[in-house]
Symmetry: C2
Subunit: 229 residues, 2 copies
Amino acid sequence: MSTAGDTPHRHRPPRVPRGQRRRHEILIVAERAFLGQGFTETTMQSIAAAAGASKETLYRHFKSKDDLLIEIVLARTAELRRALDGDVDSGAGMAAVLTHLGRNLLTAVTTPDTVALLRIVIAETVRNPDLGLSLYTAGPERTNRLLTGYLAAAKSRGEFHGDDAALAASLFLGSVLGNEPLVGLLRRPKHPMTAKAIEARVGEAVTLFMTRYAATPPGAAEAAPSRTG
Amino acid sequence: MSTAGDTPHRHRPPRVPRGQRRRHEILIVAERAFLGQGFTETTMQSIAAAAGASKETLYRHFKSKDDLLIEIVLARTAELRRALDGDVDSGAGMAAVLTHLGRNLLTAVTTPDTVALLRIVIAETVRNPDLGLSLYTAGPERTNRLLTGYLAAAKSRGEFHGDDAALAASLFLGSVLGNEPLVGLLRRPKHPMTAKAIEARVGEAVTLFMTRYAATPPGAAEAAPSRTG
DNA sequence: TTATAACCGTACTTATCGGTTCGGTTAGGG
DNA sequence: CCCTAACCGAACCGATAAGTACGGTTATAA
């Protein structure tokens, strides 16, 4: 009889490779499962099945289910960090930089995968505060810091007029995103924003920002700051 | 002799009332538990204990744990709806209305209870999409609609200059809130924003908005809309 | 006073799932 | 060719918690 190649018990899924590669494959499968159905809703058993593996193999590579999640989140945050860094140092004018940054940000925030990951992290932050913290510092906080730094530099170049670069940055980022993050978090799949809608929103947010904070065109009065409460 | 008030078996917690009142008490206790420790982390047993009740009583009043949560969320959203309605029709000037609305909103969003509820709903939205939807329509969407309506009216009064009231409203609300919602969701307790910080942020957001969208002071050029991409 | 319904405490049922163990199998390096 | 480590499948363990059942108790209304 055939020693290998046949179906020892039933039909066997195509043989999978060994070694360290297995680990990465599991990571991929698990991420897809978590993002697609949620963390709690995904069992280790189902991950094993989807990866054509056994639970023992899962636990050989990862200490626990939480550990598996942590690695996925960390990988994504690292990726996020990398993506954000490139956005600000393009040497273009302020409006262009803001537009570019805003577009990327809004696109990212309306991507289903991003939203799904965010939802999971928010939910698991109760049990594991580090998760939320790492995603926060790699995402929103980092973005704020980046833009704040850019604005401070722009100020010294005379491109930006404003007392508080950090506040201005936060205002801009908020105006770009609006409650789009919450939309994804609170409503099921839904069509993500169209590219056109994104463009419109970012454009208006940039205009809003520039109207107040860019160098005032010669001849116009300085932006009126006081509104008597 | 005292017919009641003694301790039949051991010491008994102060006798609790009967009837429909019990239901409301359970609701209160459960809400505190859910908000304080999270939904999954709270057992029906612990709610019963905290309410001085038995599980049977819980299940007499509520079909299931999910049912209990739903009622709590619905009660809160109703409350939210009520609170928001009063904010816009004060008849004051646009800057004042925006300031008032912004302050209330930012305060609400940085309140621990609000954040805790939001976190729960986001987490449970996977299993129960209606929860998220109801909170979304009662909260962010409603706020947007309200402000949009106000701006449209303001436009007809000549107080607001802008093509897209809905977009302007969303931009303002976004700039007021920034990523403050995410801060609460992703980082543990943390001190909520101080009243002073809230005031500063709202003030600047209002100024930003007014600079672009309010009637331009006589003599100044019309706000420059075009930035050649 | 008595019937009834809400109630308490406790124990039980049932189900899920993370994590472990084990016996047999397969791949790949020496 | 064979030894070893990674692997599979399946059974198992332990914990947790939702929901139910039950027997005894107390308030309240008739």
